[in-house]
Amino acid sequence: MTVAPTNADLSVGGTGPSAPKPGKAGFKLGFDMKSSGIYIAFALIVVLFTVLTGGDMLAPQNISNIIVQNSYILVLAIGMILIIIAGHIDLSVGSVVAACGAFSAVMMVNWDLPWPIAVIATLAFGAVIGAWQGYWVAYFGIPAFIVTLAGMLLFRAITLMILGNQGIGPFPEEVRTLANGFTNGFLGNVGLGALGGADLFSIIVGLAVVVGIAVVQWRTRAGRLRYNQAVDPMWLFAVKVAVPAVLVMFVIVQLARFRNLPWVLVLLAVLVVGYTLVTNRAVFGRQIYAVGGNLQAATLSGVKVKSVVFWLFVNMGVLSALAGIIFAGRLNQANPTAGNSFELDAIAAAFIGGAAVQGGVGKVVGAITGGLIMGVINNGMSLIGAESEEVMLVKGAVLLAAVAFDVWSKRRTSAAR
């Protein structure tokens, strides 16, 4: 229900089950149950809760809430999926979120540093934490499970040392706006007939995103055709552009009717596009998959495996710091218990989103979708008045089902071999 599904098809060359004859520009069916299952499941869950809540699920304010309430988990999920693709895990992100939030609060509130400097320093602090953990995992050779379990304790302890037993706040206006605020109605409102007034600027941004999606997809397709590669038939291509476009416009219009675009949504959109590009097209992104797919083969192909793993943890540290600032800014207070069990939500998001337990597989967009599935379940169940233990029950079942599906489909394909 954000930009997430729109980028589902940024990936170059999704692998279809039926491939064309060699050497000719053929068509292939781009519908693959294994990789599409997650998006279909997401759609079904949204529909289910929309029906159960009598439409409240998709109300303008609720959509905005889902995005803002889950933004920090989604930021963490991006870093987590990369680490899981490489075959590792990070259990410490919740504590790192808390430590970074506390660090930023001390700088902004106690020391009165200008907020841009404090934000940059906090991101650097996160990078240092990531480098610490990356060193032990990559160069010292301790399993990430252990290193980050220790980190979970260490950084929670550091948080408590910084904060004592109380929160620090309030945060500067700008940080709160980033975490919790909305874009201004720069261009005023526009009437949408029965839907009432909506923010014109938001709608223009939405249209720009839709055009962007279409252009990128078209250029990718044209490039593949130029190199005689298989592409989807035109109707499927059109569907694959139209569905995300409609979804984006729906979300944007709803948001425009409420309070314009949340700034965290803009931030998330930038992160998702950026990291999707890195995983699909950058040498570094390819090396992550190579390391996770077959460590020995990657080593013997000259990939500097240790350095890849190290930088992944640094990246995770920076994203945790970002999530820490957003979370603290949203509560307007850095809190010693901040980020509790965030690591579990981020890991669950990655696995629900199609990461493989053995590594080597996963997509940024998948992790975002996995995170949104959990967010929608949380939100929808609270709308229908479910108890928190029921929410937990459902989330646990969904996580298990998602991984069971992955293991099952893998066993099926290897049996067919």
Binding site: A19, P22, G223, R224, Y227, R281, V283, A290, A297, G302
Partner: protein, 511 residues
């Protein structure tokens, strides 16, 4: 009439695409030491796995008769129950447990669910005396050397009241003293009435210890003879004898300048840093020439190749690498690749391919930089490159976006070769390039190797199959126990000659 303890008749075992055993017959007499000899891949280990129930009844054809009864083992426990125990080449001991715990692992001496430690340790001590191991039964196995661990395995077998003991390459990792002790022990066990089957490459051992010898070749029984009627030469010719015609493409080499010279190259084992696996090796590879490296399993072939390839195996390296007349330091794989050295592994599934990725991403994996600008990969260019390899290497796949895990062995090997050719190496080391692939694909691989040599690359082929080396190489080095024991031009090479050099003992070549 001698008493036959084991009769295996008409054993046929097929793996997808490969007939590993074909109508094999084996007859072992009670109380004898019976050696099974054959080249790597002849089917020895497969036969022993059929016997011990690793491949259960129903997955093979043929009959097993043990002590006069037909046997249908459904697993190792079944065969052990009958008194058949197999000791594998890679010892299966739990390192942090004590000797006694290992001996009775899975067979714990327990009373009402609680282990009786006095009984366990006492029984273990008695077994240790029997195998001549002067260690306390509470010593952790990790503190023992390989030779003593081997004895613990035998003690474990004795604890199960073994009647037929199978040892797969028991002395491959042992020094002379330990080997001698082990062989003495086996003679003693024979005198106690325990029958032994030994798989061994060391022909002098085979000659000295066994009563009879069976030869396997290409998954078939060739003959069984009394050792007293045999010579090492006769065993060698039995192991290698087959016709060589029309299995290798014709090739006239045009040999150019020296590409890589390896000088006094020594490598130590990463687990036992004082044990040298490769000792003072000197080799020369020239452009346009296909050089073979022959050696038995455990001779250090792969260790030599991988250590040259960016020190990707081993520790405590010494020696020099001279590439095109200049000394190079290839301290890691990236540097080796940048210096124009490539190594295609013997185990493509474990070390060669990312099986969950498609062909194009595997082909580009070792030289992604060539397809990238500023860190961004040009996916279309990558497709084009991979598609060109698909055509030129004749990789049979629907497209280069097919997942490599689903390809046949031959096609997987072509993907591995494509990956290394794309790095544009001057020196290409091919470790068992045709292992596990069918005859037709082998011919194609040989043709590719010839083409690469004609393009001016220096090629080193490591192979367990002597006919293959004789068929495609211009010059062959032999390696035994980490040392080069011979360098033979193609014209002078024979299988018997090579096998003699490959089984040459260390003392004979030491200066």
């Amino acid at each position: 009439m001698t008493d036959t303890i084991l009769r295996m008749s008409g054993i046929t075992k097929t793996f997808p695409g490969v007939k590993a055993l074909q109508d094999v017959n084996l007859e072992v007499r009670r109380g004898e030491i019976h050696s099974i000899c054959g080249e790597n891949g002849a089917g020895k280990s497969t036969l022993m796995k059929v016997l011990s129930g690793v491949y259960p009844h129903g997955t093979y054809d043929g009959e097993i008769e043990f002590e006069g009864e037909a046997c249908r083992f459904s697993g190792i426990r079944d065969s052990e129950h009958r008194g058949i125990v197999i000791i594998h080449q890679e010892l299966a001991l739990a390192h942090n447990l004590s000797i006694a715990e290992n001996i009775f692992l899975g067979n714990e001496q327990a009373k009402r669910g609680f282990i009786d430690w006095n009984k366990t340790n006492h029984a273990a001590d008695q077994l240790l005396r029997r195998v001549g191991l002067a260690e306390s039964s509470v010593t952790p196995v990790v503190e023992l050397g390989v030779g003593k661990q081997q004895l613990v395995e035998i003690a474990k077998a004795l604890s199960k009241e073994v009647k037929l003991l199978i040892l797969d390459e028991p002395t491959a990792a042992l020094n002379d003293e330990d080997s001698e002790h082990l062989l003495g022990l086996l003679r003693g066990l024979r005198d106690e009435g325990i029958t032994c089957v030994i798989i061994s490459h060391k022909l002098n051992e085979v000659m000295s210890i066994s009563d009879r010898v069976t030869i396997l070749r290409d998954g078939k029984t060739i003959w069984t003879e009394n050792t007293s009627d045999l010579t090492e030469d006769k065993i060698i010719s039995g192991m290698v004898g087959r016709d060589l015609e029309h299995r290798y493409p014709e090739h006239t080499p045009s040999i150019g300048a020296e590409a890589l010279r390896i000088e006094d190259w020594t490598v130590h084992s990463p687990t036992q840093p004082d044990r040298a696996l490769v000792r003072k090796v000197n080799m020369t590879l020239r452009r346009g020439e296909i050089v073979g490296l022959a050696g038995l399993m455990g001779a250090g072939r792969t260790e030599l190749a991988m250590s040259v390839f960016g020190r990707s195996y081993g520790v405590n390296f010494s020696g020099r690498l001279i590439k095109d007349g200049k000394e190079i330091k290839a301290r890691n794989v990236r540097e080796a690749i940048d210096h124009g050295i490539a190594y295609a592994t013997e185990d493509r599934k474990r070390y060669g391919l990312n099986l969950i990725e498609d062909i194009k991403r595997n082909v580009s994996a070792a030289a992604l930089g060539k397809l990238a600008k500023g860190g961004w990969v040009n996916g279309n260019e990558e497709f084009k490159v991979a598609d060109e390899f698909r055509a030129s290497m004749n990789i049979k796949a629907p497209s280069v976006e097919a997942v490599t895990g689903k390809l046949s062995g031959g096609n997987q090997q072509k993907v591995v070769l494509s990956k290394w050719i794309f790095t544009n190496p001057d020196v290409l080391i091919l470790d068992e390039p045709t292992r596990g692939i069918d005859v037709g694909a082998k011919y194609e691989i040989y043709t590719i190797i010839n083409r690469l040599a004609d393009e001016g690359k220096a090629i080193l082929v490591i192979s367990s199959e002597l006919p293959e080396l004789l068929g495609i190489c211009d010059r062959i080095y032999t390696l035994s126990a980490g040392r080069i024991t011979g360098e033979v031009p193609r014209a002078e090479a024979t299988q018997e000659g090579l096998m003699t050099l490959m089984t040459k003992e260390e003392q004979e070549v030491a200066p």
